[in-house]
Symmetry: C2
Subunit: 249 residues, 2 copies
DNA sequence: CGCTATTTTGAGATGGCTCAAGCTATGTGG
DNA sequence: CCACATAGCTTGAGCCATCTCAAAATAGCG
């Protein structure tokens, strides 16, 4: 009963990168061990410090992975989009989640008990290899963001964050590319290591330059190449605050 | 011949976390597929952008993992110590190394061709699981450092970096805990996302406060709890530059 | 239609960066 | 063995990108 429902509701397990290249019989094993979990918008799959017991793969909705320190300062580490997994490894060995996972939308996920996932990976080495590749990609991305945070100015980091969001959650509209998420100034600040005030000023500047259109928790990119120019260093154009950069001699 | 030499020179493969809990026969397979590579102090196992073809586990010496951007600004992402692996995953699927690996000492490593390691992991799922756990720990550590970089002051980040180094490369001496590495102010700056000048001023301050003794590429911790107090927030004591913090009303 | 969360904006403070010099180990070649 | 060269380190002065704090404007929502 449960199994047949799952088969119907999960038509495309092969399209989930974690399960790429698995044989039909292996997919069946994975599917049969899965259960489902839905979390309402704003709800949490887990909080930082919870006992890590469940692995997830998102089917619909988005989930943000955050970390918070003792003083309540929070950073947004990652936005999980459909097809992606999160908390794939910590539950294998128990311990605690080092981050929190909060649903940005109403989100639905496949879930596996950590022990179950561990035995699946032992039985299906391709699954472990897939997880390894995905985790490696995440590490790689975070390394780059770490370097950016250490070496680059706020405006550039915000531009990169917005472009990344456009890739992950962008939707073409007549206005331009809409970031299809509730995205406050505070959120943007937590993604880029700055303050909500600075984020606001930067967006105001971009809006005046015609690069974006903004609203309450809303952002539309009008001239993506303008943001790219800020994110990369192509033309040192359109600085948002402070004076124009002096010309190189 | 080669095999028997390896058996002699690698007495303790079981003590390497990547190979923990493997059976003797599995260890043999791993060992037989390994070759060795030595790199002189200052040399590179690979540079950023090189084709990723080899996985490594360090036997002796230390290796630092760095990333550099187009403008030549560099960050130190990790210090690999004996027993630890690096570049474990990227070589499995080809592509490029996203970071560089530079020997701090004369360093010796076990090395496996990426294809070879891939097939070992497919054959020995425990190996893939071990790699997954190690990679996850690295991701976790980097996430914390990312948050620290985004939310904390330079002095605290430097204190944390020094304490981390003490754990990884500390050696008890009569003077105190010596960081047993050539460690320049520039290095410290690249580990903490600051400049060599600021790092220098901070160390000067700590030296005047009796927390450390410094020298050319040398650092000895005299009062570790003093550094911990800075790294955590226990007593807001001994600020190094600027004035003393005002008292809370 | 009032409440509340979000955003904007100003004014001021400052932590840390930049640049410029000079200083000091360390090691090197004469 | 010494004087010079070099790489690392310190320090001062000035600046400025960004943070802080405060307040007002705005926009959804119930």
């Amino acid at each position: 009963m449960k199994e047949s429902i799952d088969r119907i509701l999960i038509p495309d397990l092969t399209r989930i990168p974690l399960f790429a290249h698995l044989r039909a019989e292996q997919l069946d094993a994975v599917r049969e061990a899965a259960h489902r979990r839905s979390v309402a918008s704003g709800g949490f799959f887990f909080h930082q410090g919870d006992v890590a017991n469940t692995c997830y793969v998102i089917l619909t909705g988005r989930v943000r992975i955050t970390q918070i320190d003792a003083d309540g300062r929070q950073v947004i580490l990652h936005l999980v989009t459909p097809g992606e997994g999160f908390a794939l490894v910590a539950p294998l060995s128990g311990g605690e989640y080092g981050v929190a996972a909060e649903a940005v939308d109403e989100a639905e996920a496949l879930a596996w008990d950590g022990e179950t996932m561990r035995s699946l990976m032992l039985r299906i080495p391709e699954l472990a290899l897939n997880a390894l590749g995905l985790l490696s990609a995440r590490l790689h991305e975070l390394q780059e963001r770490y370097r950016e945070l250490a070496t680059e100015r706020v405006e550039r980091r915000v531009a990169r964050a917005v472009l990344r969001l456009a890739r992950q959650a962008g939707r073409r509209t007549e206005e331009g590319i809409l970031i299809d998420l509730p995205l406050s100034r505070q959120d943007l600040a937590e993604m880029t290591g700055t303050t909500l005030y600075t984020a606001s000023r930067i967006l105001t500047g971009w809006e005046q330059a015609g690069l974006v259109t903004t609203g309450r928790e809303r952002l539309v990119i009008r001239r993506g190449h303008g943001l790219v120019a800020i994110a990369e260093d192509l033309p040192p154009r359109t600085p948002v605050h402070g004076n124009a950069a002096p010309l190189e001699p």
